[in-house]
């Protein structure tokens, strides 16, 4: 089964360049502005869009993304509305892959089977669920694969060669390499360590490898993109969004542009990179 993710990475490979992957929180700072922001991303240069599903207790996230989730929840965001957001985006864009990222509990409470049907029909292509390691594959990963959604797994510096095959076994779409042991928003790993890690993962899989956590500038994005099939930026975009809000945390006339402009400059950085040789 070919998903939008597979198609997109195949295209990028033909063009000889890496993907620029953006992360923003669904419903941040409110559902309507959030849809406008997401619609603006492909034009600004995003190749793949990750959308966070807000959760009260995001154990692997730093303060910026945690605050973004709480802003969204306060504005009334729910998992159902997150799927509506994707549906809204799909009205004008049927090519850009959408990956939902978050924690398991809201999906478990929504009901796994119902969630998979609704996500697929809304136009979701893949899932990244931070707190579902391969040991819990039966919960969501295997049903998601059956439903035609990619399940994208995180590999980390602690995932050694012995463990990698287990992590990769049911991974599809791409592999998300977390360049540091730590939470989102922490400092980036240096590019030589990343390049070594990506090479190590590539010895075990043909899937594209995207790298995230700690990329904030076009320069870092470029250097990471030259070693990997994609660079993921989240916290920097969320911070740009936050800086555009008024004192009460509401969207202003600047909000959509603030995110689009940073997206464009980061995308420039990624496009400036030569893709790593296979």
């Amino acid at each position: 089964m070919t998903t939008r993710i597979d198609t997109r990475f195949a295209e990028l490979k033909k063009q000889g360049r890496s993907a620029f992957v953006t992360f923003l929180m669904a419903g941040d700072p409110d559902p309507a502005t959030s849809l406008e922001i997401i619609k603006a991303l492909p034009k600004a240069g995003a190749d793949v869009i990750e959308i966070g599903m807000p959760f009260t207790d995001p154990m692997a996230d730093g303060p910026s993304i945690q605050a973004a989730g709480l802003r969204a929840l306060k504005a009334g965001m729910t998992l159902k509305k997150t799927l509506e957001l994707v549906r809204g985006f799909r009205k004008d864009d049927n090519a850009t892959p959408i990956v939902l990222m978050g924690y398991y509990n809201p999906i478990y409470i929504y009901g796994v089977d119902k969630f998979l049907v609704d996500a697929k029909s809304a136009g979701v292509d893949g899932l990244i669920i931070v707190d579902l390691p391969p040991e819990e594959d039966e919960e969501l990963c295997l049903p998601a694969m059956k439903a035609g959604l990619n399940f994208i797994r995180l590999a980390t510096p602690t995932t050694d060669d012995k463990r990698l095959p287990a992590v990769l076994a049911n991974t599809s779409g791409f592999v998300y390499y977390v360049s540091i042991t730590g939470i989102t928003g922490a400092a980036a790993a240096d590019s030589s360590a990343v390049s070594e890690a990506v090479a190590r993962i590539k010895r075990h899989t043909k899937l594209p490898v995207c790298v995230g956590f700690g990329i904030r500038t076009p320069e870092t994005a470029r250097s990471i993109a030259s070693h990997a099939n994609g660079a993921v930026v989240g916290t920097a975009l969320v911070d740009a969004l936050k800086s555009s809000l008024d004192a009460e945390g509401r969207a202003t006339a600047k909000t959509v542009n603030a995110v689009a402009e940073l997206t464009a400059s980061l995308a420039q950085g990624v496009r400036g990179a030569q893709q790593a040789a296979e």
Binding site: T56, A60, N105, I109, P133, L154, R163, V167, V178
Partner: protein, 405 residues
């Protein structure tokens, strides 16, 4: 409920850490290799007689075990029913049952060569126990504590600092125990290479609920032997308070396969079950948080709700997964007591027995006040007195002064 009754209630968890549908390992990939290492280290330690012998030495001479099983004669007379025994965990070094588990985990950390210990704490008792054993063994200790709890449990904050620990007030979320646990998990993900996470209750990813239970089972094992010696038979009922559920699991577990023993866990009902409370079984449903599937307080969208209890140690929106399972198969009865009921019990026990309990086990005493009078005089009831009230004296003093005004 049509759940098959197991041959033994004591055989869980399965090799993947499940008690029925509960438990499991719902954590970030970064932590998985370490959790698997911990499980291996614990399996090896359990099979090593030297490990148990070393533990036994510290339990006896450092912790002060066995703790007495005390016949509360005046409380029994006052209530006029069941014969009430108190398992005196409050007499342990550091003032609560928490030290039993911390000793075990610190011994494991030493075996694994970890020099940096992190912990989360609500009431501060687990933090104090961890700070104490880190001092004893020369380990670095960092304790995460919700900013609200730092305020209301000042005596314990001061103790931890005196013991050389760093207390990190947590400002995120509800600024109580749940957020302290999130913050500890974030630290662990960041410092996984040199850090041991000492969890304070029977919750978290497998193998924690199992190993904490095992380390706390000394409470029930001693109770069994002591009751045999005093009364020549098993107790008829057991009562313990539940935050995450470690003192309760420690008392209950050795008795789970004795069908004549009735078992009661007491959750915190706060302002009442229809208002703000911390009773995950009475007011929650199964969900996934902090590495395990268990009963949780949450809204219709799976967002975790704020818990409330007068007692910082019970103020948690979840409960250990084995309790969720024992509830669903019907082996343990889960009740709840409100803030006011706990305060009344706190005062009653202080005045009748000269024992000032922590606010946590005061919840258990509150239910004893309800259960005991209805039972015959030959009914033997054991209450786990999980901790002493020193830490709560300023808080309860303020409340009582406010009330008398």
């Amino acid at each position: 409920m049509n759940i098959a009754k197991p041959n033994s209630y004591r055989s869980g968890p399965d090799e993947r850490g499940h008690f029925g549908i509960f438990g499991g390992r719902f954590v970030a990939e970064t932590l998985m290799p370490l959790i698997l290492d911990l499980e291996k280290a614990y399996t090896e330690a359990k099979a090593d007689p030297a490990f148990q012998a070393e533990m036994d030495g510290y339990l006896k001479n450092y912790v002060g075990r066995p703790s007495p099983l005390y016949f509360a004669e005046r409380l029994t007379e006052h209530l006029g029913g069941a014969k009430i025994y108190l398992k005196r965990e409050e007499l342990n070094h550091t003032g609560s049952h928490k030290v039993n588990n911390v000793l075990g985990q610190i011994m494991l950390a030493r075996r694994m060569g970890k020099k940096r210990i992190i912990a989360e704490t609500g009431a501060g008792q687990h933090g104090v126990a961890t700070a104490t054993l880190c001092a004893r063994f020369g380990l670095e200790c960092i304790v995460y504590m919700g900013a609200v709890d730092v305020e209301r449990q000042q005596p314990n904050v001061i103790r931890m600092e005196m013991l050389g620990a760093t207390v990190m007030p947590v400002q995120s979320g509800t600024r109580t125990l749940k957020d302290a646990m999130n913050e500890a998990l974030r630290d662990w993900v960041t410092n996984v290479h040199n850090t041991f996470y000492c969890i304070g209750t029977v919750a978290g990813p497998h193998p924690y609920p199992m190993l904490v239970r095992d380390f706390q089972s000394i409470i029930g094992n001693e109770t069994k032997a002591q009751m045999q010696e005093i009364e020549g038979r098993l107790p008829d009922s057991l009562v313990a308070c539940i935050g995450g559920g470690s003192n309760a699991m420690g008392l209950f577990h050795p008795f789970l396969d004795d069908p004549s023993v009735e078992i009661f866990g007491v959750e915190a009902a706060g302002h009442g079950l229809t208002q703000l409370h911390a009773a995950s079984i009475a007011g929650g449903r199964p969900g996934v948080l902090h590495g395990n599937r268990t009963y949780l307080l949450m809204d219709a969208d799976g967002q975790i709700q704020d818990a409330h209890s007068i007692s910082a140690g019970l103020d948690y929106p979840g409960i250990g997964p084995e309790h969720s399972w024992l509830h669903e198969i019907g082996r343990v009865n889960y009740l709840s007591a409100t803030d006011d009921e706990a305060l009344a019990a706190f005062q009653l026990l202080s005045k009748l027995e000269g024992i000032i309990p922590a606010l946590e086990p005061a919840h258990a005493i509150a239910k004893v006040m309800e259960l005991a009078p209805k039972l015959p005089k030959d009914h033997l009831m054991v209450v786990n007195l999980s901790g002493r009230g020193d830490k709560d004296v300023p808080q309860v003093g303020d409340i009582l002064k406010g009330k008398s005004k």
